[in-house]
């Protein structure tokens, strides 16, 4: 049972102290209270223990992954970076100064003349 301690330090204060979220003078007050109150001291120890245990267990999970997996992931990253830099080179290609679609090349190939886009659109809408 977390007794409402005589020091007036709430569990929320204790957590904020443990997380380095207090102003220096507030932190000093909590630190003093921890010194003098065995209950607070124990709760503080539990926070320390929990953090240490959680971290150790997740580090153990990471240690269990073989290095080869991390190397594979690096290869993937390397390839992705390569792809991106190739793409950005391609993007940097110079655009023609005048690039309106003229249809000139199309006619030069001897293909039948294209309809006006309005006619083509109307035909499509009629179809639907």
């Amino acid at each position: 049972m977390s007794t409402e301690p005589s020091t007036g330090i709430t569990p929320a204060d204790l957590h904020a102290y443990f997380d380095d979220e207090l102003m220096p003078d507030q932190a000093a007050t909590v630190a003093e209270a921890i010194e003098s109150d065995p209950q607070l001291q124990m709760e503080h120890q539990q926070l320390v223990g929990l953090r240490g245990t959680v971290n150790a267990s997740l580090e153990a999970a990471a240690a269990a992954v073989p290095s080869a997996r991390f190397e594979q992931i690096w290869d993937e990253i390397d390839r992705a970076i390569e792809r991106v830099s190739t793409e950005s080179l391609a993007l940097a290609a110079r655009r023609p100064e005048y690039s309106v679609l003229s249809g000139e090349r199309y006619r030069a190939l001897g293909l039948p003349a294209l309809r006006h886009w309005r006619d083509a659109l109307a035909a499509m809408l009629d179809d639907g």
Binding site: P11, R51, T53, V54, I73
Partner: protein, 216 residues
């Protein structure tokens, strides 16, 4: 092999100048750390490796904009936390809705449980060498809601500030404080319940003596 901010800074500068090997060195320095964070959030090896990959591709893309107001790892961890949270949202886990912060107001039943088993563990990295203890911790983490696990990982492992956590979870600092408080309480409760059933928890054991016990 302790990584320092100064080493990071040099590697970042070199990587920004296009040195691919410096970038690889940054990756190698943080691969396991990032993995353990992502694994903490997602509880799945392949998902965690995906996040590791995405994170470094992102880091590479935004590296030119990184000006070093914060340390490299704080920046990296923010990216990783965001990716993990996105991942959880995308996968639309039902459990996320189920928990939320419902426990916030049941102050009476939320009293600090008897947590002596946790403090009795002693040095945590030695304790988790005991497979039973390790799985007790991992199962307890697994039983937390996604949100509770997220705040635990962001604070305990990544050391993010309340403000950074609030930004990552898109909520207020007050919500983070309350969420973290209850997440820790839940975790402590789950863990001490599990540890009660491990009689040998306070005796440091080598793998050999465990094998002998199992054989006898």
């Amino acid at each position: 092999m302790a990584s320092t901010d100064a080493d990071d800074h040099q590697l970042v500068k070199a990587a920004q100048a296009g040195d691919r090997r410096a970038f690889q060195a940054l990756y190698q320095r943080y691969e396991r750390k990032v993995y353990s964070v992502a694994y903490g959030f997602l509880r799945n090896q392949e998902d965690a490796l995906d996040v590791l990959q995405e994170a470094f591709i992102k880091v590479h893309r935004y590296l030119p904009n990184f000006e070093g107001q914060s340390s490299f790892y704080t920046w990296l961890y923010r990216i990783v936390a965001n990716l993990c949270i996105d991942h959880l949202r995308r996968s639309g886990r039902k459990r996320d809705v189920e928990f939320d912060d419902r426990l916030r107001h049941d102050g009476e039943t939320d009293a600090a449980p008897d947590l002596s088993p946790i403090t009795a563990l002693g040095d945590p990295s030695a304790a988790v060498k005991n497979k039973e203890i390790l799985s007790a911790v991992q199962d307890s983490l697994g039983k937390l809601s996604d949100k509770h696990r997220a705040v635990i990982v962001m604070r305990e492992l990544q050391g993010l500030s309340y403000a950074d956590m609030a930004k990552a979870m898109n909520c207020s600092k007050g919500t983070i404080m309350s969420r973290l408080f209850h997440a820790r309480r839940n975790m402590q409760k789950l863990l001490s319940e599990r540890l009660e059933y491990i009689p040998s928890k306070t005796e440091p054991q080598s793998g050999d003596s465990m094998t002998q016990e199992a054989a006898s």
